[in-house]
């Protein structure tokens, strides 16, 4: 389980960073999304006493109420906040992306290369 999670975080981060460094705005936003997925998974794995494998997420009658028997609830709360904020920020970035596309006529992150395409007959 640990190796699967670690690998998926690694692959998501790697692809996210690669896309983030690409010159097209759409690639950048995909990169940022992948990066935020990676971060959310990472927060999950950072519960107290490590990754909670096969532990109860909610209280069950008859099980001792400590972290040996339950998943740490705090990372879940953190992830929820991070997801909400990340979502809003991605939406905002999308709006700016569209504005930039509309103003410069190109989807390059620097708004460059617009002149050549406009001068084409």
């Amino acid at each position: 389980m640990e190796i699967v999670l670690a690998l998926s975080i690694g692959v998501l981060t790697g692809s996210g960073v690669w896309l983030l460094l690409r010159p097209r705005t759409f690639q950048v936003i995909m990169g940022l999304s992948l990066l935020s997925y990676a971060v959310n998974l990472f927060i999950f794995s950072m519960g107290r006493l490590g990754l909670a494998v096969a532990k109860e997420p909610v209280l069950v009658a008859g099980v001792t109420q400590d972290l040996q028997h339950y998943a740490d609830p705090l990372p879940q709360a953190l992830v929820l906040t991070a997801i909400v904020i990340g979502f809003a920020m991605t939406a905002l970035f999308l709006v700016v992306l569209l504005a930039s596309r509309g103003i410069s006529g190109t989807d390059h992150v620097d708004g460059a290369h617009a002149h050549e395409s406009q001068e084409m007959p």
Partner: protein
């Protein structure tokens, strides 16, 4: 004004909530008003910001008077004891930053009221949200809460940066948002790693937990701290993470640029707070971790800022690079982790921030004067250097010295005189020349570098390579900044071709006068302010009292149900 302390006493600790709650409620109210009601919106925003300033003054006085360990303000918003619930903490450093924020906020609101608020929608609401995020980031005592307030601040700043639209703003806004989203990811990774290692996100609890981390995990702890610090260094504009700053700040409208001058200081505040808590002298084997990185990064930032100022053709770019230079100086001084140096740094921080803010506002006025009302001359492209334009070939009527025209008896209009004097004052503060506060701040820092144990008692201690380099850089960058600002001043104010006197409105002149007046107050009251910052630095570098105050804060008792105490209402009295 003299009744403020009693009022503060009466409303403490609830007054600590005001810097967050007041802008939030104001912003909510402003969202309800229609876009045509500009004047009403401006009035509401102004009144709220003014009230915020008074609250900040009251909090500062309270923190300075009751600044001992027991008197530190700790507020438990959820009424849960410290490591479990979130906390707001007020100490001298927080109070200082709150006052600086609300002062710059007030000036920025005033300036925006003259003209810029009409450049787009929802200006004042976004502005109030930004103030809320800033105040929250300064007040919170919880790492994850810090993240949330950072995001509030950044979300509002994205809107403010794009205010007025236009190609330059959208382009630099795109870069600004992308780098800040990446920085937020780093923040989350760092915070999550710290939680995984220590099991807490409360800053005071973290400070207690850091010395107890197992030796095998120490590398992981340092990695977490470094990742977190990278996120803050991006905000604090440390080289090489600061290439987004100058395009974004110079593209923003003038009042927004002035407010953004304090945004870089939030990164510095977070670094100073967390570094002194987590890696202070009491942190055992991790003490002073990363000190060299801060010093080297700060020095590189100083050099970058100074070279950038030298190469700037536009006043707004000059102001942006001045913000970088001030940030670099503060970072390098912070890295030494030294009591007296931190005291000097905390004096230099408000002075340089105020001056950079004033320069942003002044740049807008001057550019509009030069270009006849427009922010940018019609013939200029984004990339052109304004002083290489044909306009600059000395025209007839320009008074060069070799023409020996008589200057005596020429009337200088009051507005021109005001702008010239304001520019001169800003130059003196940013370059750190006597007699103004920039000089006092730099002098205090240099003295601390040369006499680490205090004036006249160096006891054979030598500053070392880092100390001498900081000394040389501080003097060198001051000289370069002076040259760059003087050159720009000559071009804008002395060698100006004949043109009508600038139209200076009270709403635009007043904020600049306020900002520079605050610098004057800092200069005149230097002794008192230095005493305050020395106390702040001492408290910062001995975090035990901070930790004790936060961890020992007790929740308030739940009120007993009136009459029959045998059967309390459900939900009341069950809380700890």
């Amino acid at each position: 004004m003299s009744r403020l302390p009693e009022l503060a006493d009466a409303f403490m600790p609830h007054l600590m909530l005001a810097p967050i709650a007041l802008p939030m409620l104001t912003a909510a109210l402003l969202l309800l008003l229609r876009e045509e009601q500009q004047r009403l919106k401006f009035t509401v925003s102004l009144v709220s910001t003014l009230a915020g300033l008074l609250v900040a003054i009251a909090l500062l006085q309270w923190a300075h008077r009751a600044g001992t360990a027991a008197g530190m303000g700790v507020y438990l918003p959820g009424n849960w004891p410290a490591p479990f619930g979130i906390v707001l903490v007020l100490d001298r450093l927080t109070a200082l930053m709150l006052l600086l924020t609300s002062l710059i906020g007030l000036c920025s609101v005033l300036f925006a009221g003259a003209r810029w608020q009409r450049a787009g929608v929802l200006y004042h609401a976004l502005f109030q949200f930004q103030l809320m995020g800033l105040s929250g980031a300064f007040l919170t005592g919880d790492l994850f809460n810090l993240f949330v307030f950072f995001e509030i601040m950044l979300a509002a700043s994205y809107g403010l940066l794009l205010h007025g639209s236009g190609r330059a703003r959208v382009q630099s806004g795109l870069h600004y948002i992308a780098i800040n989203l990446a920085a937020s990811s780093l923040f989350l990774v760092g915070a999550a790693m710290l939680y995984g290692l220590t099991g807490t996100l409360n800053m005071a609890d973290l400070a207690q937990a850091v010395p107890q981390v197992a030796p095998a995990d120490r590398g992981l702890l340092h990695a977490a701290a470094a990742i977190l610090a990278t996120a803050f260094l991006i905000k604090a504009a440390c080289w090489p993470l600061n290439f987004w700053l100058v395009p974004a700040y110079s593209a923003a409208t003038a009042p927004v640029g002035a407010l953004f001058a304090i945004m870089t200081k939030v990164g510095l505040y977070a670094l100073l707070r967390l570094w002194s808590l987590l890696f202070g002298t009491e942190a055992g084997p991790s003490a002073q971790f990363g000190s060299l990185w801060l010093i080297v990064g700060g020095m590189a930032t100083m050099a970058f800022g100074a070279i950038g100022m030298m190469g700037s053709q536009r006043l707004t770019h000059l102001a942006g690079h001045a913000a970088v230079l001030s940030s670099g100086t503060l970072l390098a001084a912070c890295g030494f982790g030294h009591n007296l140096l931190t005291a000097g740094l905390l004096y230099y921080l408000p002075s340089s921030t105020l001056a950079v803010s004033a320069l942003f506002l002044l740049a807008d006025l001057t550019e509009r004067w030069r270009n006849g009302g427009a922010t940018r001359a019609p013939y200029e492209n984004d990339d052109d250097a304004p002083f290489l334009s044909p306009e600059l070939v000395p025209a007839t009527g320009m008074n060069l010295d070799d023409d020996e025209q008589v200057l005596v008896g020429r009337i200088i209009p009051a507005a021109t005189a005001f702008m010239g004097l304001a520019y001169l004052t800003t130059t003196l503060v940013i370059a750190g020349l006597p007699p103004l506060s920039g000089f006092v701040g730099k002098f205090a820092m240099l003295t601390a570098v040369l006499n680490p144990l205090g004036m006249g008692s160096s006891a054979g201690q030598v500053p070392g390579i880092a100390g001498w380099t900081l000394l040389a850089l501080m003097i060198g960058t001051g000289l370069v900044a002076l040259m760059a600002l003087t050159r720009s001043g000559i071009r804008h104010f002395w060698a100006a071709p004949e043109r009508p006197a600038p139209q200076l409105r009270v709403l635009e002149g007043l904020p600049i006068a306020l900002l520079l007046g605050a610098c004057m107050v800092l200069t005149v009251q230097a002794e008192g302010v230095m005493r305050f910052t020395t106390a702040t630095a001492q408290a910062l570098h001995s975090p035990a009292s901070y930790v004790r105050a936060v961890m020992q804060a007790t929740p308030r008792q739940a009120p007993q149900a009136p009459g029959n105490s045998d059967a309390p209402l459900p939900g009341i009295g069950a809380r700890p």
